[in-house]
Amino acid sequence: MELLIFYPLGALTVLLALGVVFNNSPIGSAVSLIGMMLGLAGVFILLSAHFIAVLQVIIYAGAIMVLFMFVIMLLNLKGDDRAWKTRERNLFLSVMTGVLLLGILYEFIEITNATTFREPATLAEDFGTTARVGTTLFTDYVLPFEVASILLLAAMVGAVVLAKTKVD
């Protein structure tokens, strides 16, 4: 039954990800990316990671994509976003690298399939809830949490400084 939900969701996310890469205008790419984020939120709900799914919608589809949209609108690219620009000389090389990477990842998956995983552990009653994830975050991982706050502060200061001053 879950497969019936998983396959359309997976196909949707893959198609929208391709839409991000092969879209003409940056706005079209951004809208495709928002759709992909929402599809991935559905995948996370299917994995019963509800907290992460909600974060996906709020942070990625909300905050980060609004930032993207804002910058695209701000830059006002005249004619620059009409043409589908690719790397001029090394297109063949790039496509070959992509295909090679897909092959490597597929082989990796084959190997993981061949290895016998243990049976999936029985799911706890409170798996993926905010309370459970929060308890883990504030007991075992409280140091990375604090370090992440310093990282976000540094990013905030860096963004203000970079966007304010002129590059000479």
Binding site: I64, V71, T112
Partner: protein
């Protein structure tokens, strides 16, 4: 119950699409979006293994990935704006000052 390998395959496909986009697109903003696709693909793997083993560590890791993605996007887009002030284009091939 969806088997673990399905999630891994979805993750691999999305990651490859992200790499492809970074390699063939020249618009700096679209390249950033493709990096976001790659980060999301990694999140799927983390949470799928998390569910498989009934732990919560993977969800914390994906939470950290989201933090790093937010920081990266804010700084990166600020860099794009600074570059755009310098020269009115976002085509990455035109910024080759540091290339020898």
């Amino acid at each position: 119950m969806v088997p673990l390998s399905h999630y891994l395959i979805l993750s691999a496909i999305l990651f490859s699409i992200g790499v492809l986009g970074v390699l063939i697109r020249r618009n700096a903003i679209v390249v950033f979006m493709c990096i976001e696709i790659m980060l999301n693909a990694v999140n799927i793997s983390l949470i799928a293994f998390d569910r498989h083993m009934n732990l919560h560590d993977g969800q914390i890791f994906s939470f950290m990935v989201m933090c790093v993605a937010a920081a990266e996007v804010s700084v990166g887009l600020a860099i794009v704006i600074a570059l755009f002030r310098n020269r009115p284009t976002v085509n990455l091939d035109e910024f080759n000052l540091l290339k020898w």
